[in-house]
Amino acid sequence: MITSISAVAGIELRIAIRNRWVLISVLLMTLFALALVFAGSAPTGVLGIDLLTVSVASLTTLTVYLAPLLALLLSFDGISGEAERGSLPLLLTYPTSRGAILAGKAIAHILILLLAICIGYGIAGLAATLAGGASAQGVEALLRLCWTAPLLGAAFLGIGYTLSGFSRQTSTAAALAIAAWLILVVLYDLGILGALVFDDGGVFTSHVFPVLLVANPADAFRIVNVSGSQAASLASGMTNEIGAASSWASLLSLILWPALSLYVAMIVFRRYET
């Protein structure tokens, strides 16, 4: 069991290094993060906050879009790609479980995300500190970003494998992955914000909206990183609506999402007929 998981993880990492996925992920993260740090360096003088704290606020927003996207790109052909190549039936005749195969893939992909996020944000954080100084809260916020971002990524890895397990072709899986990203990361927020405006302070605003916000992994991630840091004051007045209770609920949501989505992916993969 352990040997098969590490064998699959090892071969997936090797493939990701060979086809330059690791390099692309790290470069993408670093470039975007650096760009945001220096684009966001303007307001520091006015607000009197260190550049690192300001940067973490923009990096949080970047992560909400980029971590799910990277995760989906890594995972969308996890099952359908093997099926399309014809290597899946052979793989499944080996004395190992489907669970071990999926676990191995997930571990490799989480490691890649972790690497891309830590290197990218590490370099960006260092640059921000050198250019505009850092406070203890800023460092704490950056560290929080570095361990919560892979959780958000892992949630979307599970979603990617699940969609892959429903597709006979990688092209279908790719289309589904893009749709999932658009819906969960972009349209979901637009939808509930629209409803918020329409509701104008009614039952939806007080009871449904907080639940819907926490239930989405991308929003849960945003809440976890925005509340409890000085960056909160920079990122809209959202915290007024939320409070400490939902901050814990968001953290729980952020931990449950990867577990749940990977579990669902496992069930879908177990039922996959080659």
Binding site: I15, L90, Y94
Partner: protein, 305 residues
């Protein structure tokens, strides 16, 4: 349950309402080479997938050397070579085989030897993406050999191989069987199987229509044996008259008869006076003849493919 063989009993498989496999029973013993023949869509691949536990039975049982199909024990017992096998192009042949060795719970020290055996030693560190179809097929065979399995299931293993590669391929399969592996191979390439298998199963439309050794199938089919007698110049008519055959051209006479008459016919030819016969060629019904005979009986069509 018998731990020395693969046993398929009354296997049935339905996809929706379509019956892909109907009541198939067969067994393959250790060290035996058994061929599975049939048109595309006859159910060969389905049967192999059922044996491997890749898809579930609708009815019947399959026992893989004492393990129920799909169990961990069965997967440890059987190795598989799929019809079209494509590995990740970014990996080298050696890396791919090491990966399979680890999955099978082996150390991987046999990888080099196996690569040598299938003739990929020099290409072992090149990416599989640069391999030809034949080379990829040989990686597939290598992972079967590496596992030294009790049962090897080879699905159309020689499609895409050139004649020389096919021969080496069957040499390796023979070696595998000699080491005690039960080899179950499905194929279209009838002529190459003729000398290379101990028993033959023929499938048509999801049913097993014939099973047995080549000789047994010949007896069962009762197809005529053919002797072509090449007569000395201008003696063809005389030979035809004496042997009771049919003249096919100016110098050859063809005799067609049932398998039980063979010895009588040969002694008749041997008994002819000198200076009549130049050469004799005896052709028992080929596997292709048998295949056509049995599959035509099974589903009323006689085309191959």
């Amino acid at each position: 349950m018998n731990s020395g063989r693969l046993t398929v009993e009354n296997a049935c498989k339905k996809y929706g309402r379509q019956e892909v496999l109907q009541d198939v029973s067969l067994s393959v013993f250790a060290g035996e080479r058994v061929a599975l023949l049939g048109h595309n869509g006859a159910g060969k691949t389905t049967l192999i997938k059922l044996i491997l536990g890749l898809t579930g039975l609708t009815g019947g049982t399959i026992d893989v050397f004492g393990h129920p199909t799909g169990s961990d024990g069965a997967r440890r017992t059987a190795a598989y070579l799929p019809e079209t096998v494509n590995f990740h192009g970014m990996l080298t042949g050696r890396e791919q085989l090491r990966f399979f060795a680890r999955l099978a719970g082996e150390s991987g020290k046999q990888v080099d030897g196996v690569l040598e055996k299938v003739g990929l030693a020099s290409a072992a560190d090149k990416r599989i993406g640069t391999y030809s179809k034949g080379m990829r097929q040989r990686i597939g065979l290598a992972q079967v050999l590496m596992r030294r399995p009790q049962l090897a299931l080879l699905d159309e293993p020689t499609s895409g191989l050139d004649p020389i590669s096919r021969r080496t391929f069957y040499d390796l399969v023979d070696e595998l069987a000699q080491a005690g592996t039960a080899v179950f191979v499905s194929s279209h390439a009838l002529t190459e199987l003729e000398a290379r298998t101990d028993r033959i199963h023929i499938m048509a439309s999801g049913k097993l229509v014939a099973a047995g050794s080549l000789d047994a199938l010949r007896k069962e089919a009762g197809l005529p044996t053919r002797i072509t007698v090449k007569a000395v110049h201008e003696k063809a008519d005389a030979v035809a008259a004496k042997l009771g055959g049919e003249r096919v051209n100016c110098s050859s006479v063809q005799l067609t008869f049932g398998a039980d008459e063979k010895l009588d016919r040969i002694s008749a030819i041997a008994g002819l006076e000198k200076g009549l016969v130049e050469d004799v060629d005896l052709a028992p019904p080929s596997l292709e003849d048998l295949y056509r005979h049995f599959t035509a009986k099974g589903d009323g069509s006689d085309h191959i493919n």
